[in-house]
Subunit: 225 residues, 4 copies
């Protein structure tokens, strides 16, 4: 197995991080929750397409990169449901005049995604009893009751999936790390529009904030709990 | 002028972001504050050295990358002081048994930096009346009273400098964005250990969270307020 | 005019606070927002009734105490709308298995309020463009994007109305104070089930966290902006 | 045993709360931490005195009410230390020009307490390894890394002591409740300047946010863990 950043971050820099002692493993914790972030049609489109075409449907789409991840998230979701571990869906709340803020300034197209784009992708949509967490900002923790949910449910660790790697996934992992939850990112379960940004953000996470693993390893670790 | 990511993020991906409408400018706001994050000897060493040697002094050092930024921050700091705009020093609080948390697990070497490494770099050290903000986590907002300070002082925007680009700078900019403050990053005033991670994090910021500008442009914009 | 606590908090204690220098005035700020907290049928019932009867309809009802406040809030709301100042409705989100937490343990009856109880009281219901802010916890700031809204809209002060004085109003005022927003509570616009708790919480607020004024004074102050 | 509010909140109101189903018990949790809030000389004075005289020494003093609580906190602290459960000292950080904010406006005297007033009361001062948590605002959670500490240490509940009942204790309990930690307040271990406000705030806590118990019961519950 190869990590997405191996051919992108110069070998010399990777060695520097190792020499300085970055990137130790956190492990999985005793009671992880699964976060499925922003897997709404607005980030994948209504069918798999190359991203260049996909952004014509939704400017926020990651196209087929997203659909590939959906298939992997599905596997992981199955194990979490079997184990009756918490499954949480942080997702972009319908944008309106009031909640645009700096996001509307920076990426005006986020404001014009039609309402059907906000629907959850059917293949991995929430089941009754799973937690829906609307949000306005990148991190699933910011301006939401996520911390309270996790404390209530005795959660000590998170498996973070969805999109984008360099946006809401990254922001959520950094906040999880700051709250002292253990975070794990199965790299085939997260997606982004830029593959270089995707890779480097995974490198940052693996070096400083959480564990980056394959889907298979994540499935194995959760199944073994 | 060339942005650090221009030769690193594939041209095709940069075009994709433009086509999707990412990366609009926020502008500077009416009352910016300057954040100088973690410019302590632990991140630059006691004298400029190539990073490979620098990490032998402090595992957390960015070596001469840091010293180059210090000279640029100094220019910017001069303008903020002249204009009597708020200057804030978020900085790593002395690590101890109690505040290590996941950071201690992930990068054990952060726990053994000797106390003298926590001193502010003299060239740009705080003056009386400037705000010291000790923190345990990447973002200067997390677990600190920064938001309250900014609201009290009527600040609407931040100029973010210091280190690391992919760590505390990135985390702080994302939180500033989420709180709806305008954030600006003069790219020669921030530093990191990996130059690829530095560049890609600046690309992420410029695309989604804040304005990335040269030191000269930042100086000009603040001087014009 | 007499404050609700004047006959309840011993004169000696009131003097003690004055002697120690508590209770100075904050004033109204330049751009206040109006918060109308939890004015849903679940807190007033579908018609005015003495509270003893009202709790048979909804255990969470304050009965006619609430209806009296609604009439006063209406006056204030009119001025805010005329002035085109922000109006925000923090309100209790529909309780479910996932968001009960300690509240469900402490007051189990909050979990069984029927859905129609969550509707806004028609006399002062939100208009298009006004901000709806669902919440699970007492303070309108906790686990919500309220701070981001206020910063985005350049708000520097809050006029806090609704219920309960000793619950969500108190919690919101303390957080507003902590964020360094100026808070003002028009005492006839807030309500509670216990009149002694109502009065003492207003005393606490007036002494330490915000300004307590009559509805008339609040109307006058806002109209004069 | 009698609760402080029993003779102060009208019997009729107490019955109303019971009828509506308020005030159920939370219990102690599996791993409580002890919070000792603001037990610094600035809140009790350097020797026990009636409060009227005490405020001449420090405007923020609660005088002999505080000293009585100190003796009770000491008992509880002994049990926590024996059991090696976490002990945390949230305390008022030295006030300066930058951190006064609305507090300085509302109670200007807080700004002029001399530095020696900030020292911890010797009888229950922190031991090495116990956590010091400087704060600017009422709640021990606000603008501090307390939540991160508690998650790191696997804490699920808090025993809250110190002062003032209607200020930092109340604010901390409401935030603990909002984060879904179980909170317990041994009423003889908390103190305030107004005895009516003290009593009513304990009534609010017992009704809605946490368990109010005697020191003896708290000691017994912790010792039994």
């Amino acid at each position: 197995m190869k990590f997405p950043w191996e051919d992108l971050v110069p070998r010399e820099e990777q060695e520097l991080y190792r020499a300085a002692g970055f990137g130790k493993k956190l492990g999985v914790g005793k009671r992880p929750a699964l976060l499925i972030i922003d897997v709404q049609y607005r980030t994948v489109g209504h069918k798999p397409q190359p991203i260049k075409e996909a952004i014509a449907e939704y400017a926020t789409s990651c196209g087929e990169y997203g659909w590939r991840a959906v298939a992997n998230i599905r596997k992981l979701l199955g194990v979490f449901r079997e184990k009756r571990l918490p499954v949480i869906y942080p997702h972009v709340a319908l944008k309106n005049q009031a909640n645009g803020g700096r996001f509307a300034d920076k990426v005006p197209n986020v404001m014009t995604v039609p309402e059907k784009g906000y629907a959850f992708v059917k293949d991995i949509e929430p089941q009754p009893g799973e937690i829906l967490l609307p949000k306005n900002h990148p991190s699933a923790f910011f301006g939401t009751p996520l911390t309270s949910y996790l404390i209530d449910q005795g959660v000590d660790s998170l498996v973070v999936t969805g999109c984008t790697t360099s946006g809401c996934v990254r922001g959520t992992v950094v906040d999880a790390f700051s709250y002292n939850f253990r975070a794990m990112v199965p790299f085939e379960c997260v997606y982004d529009r830029s593959q270089s940004s995707h890779a480097v953000n995974l490198f940052d996470i693996a070096s400083k904030y959480g564990d980056v693993v394959s889907t298979d390893e994540a499935v194995r670790l959760i199944a073994a709990l």
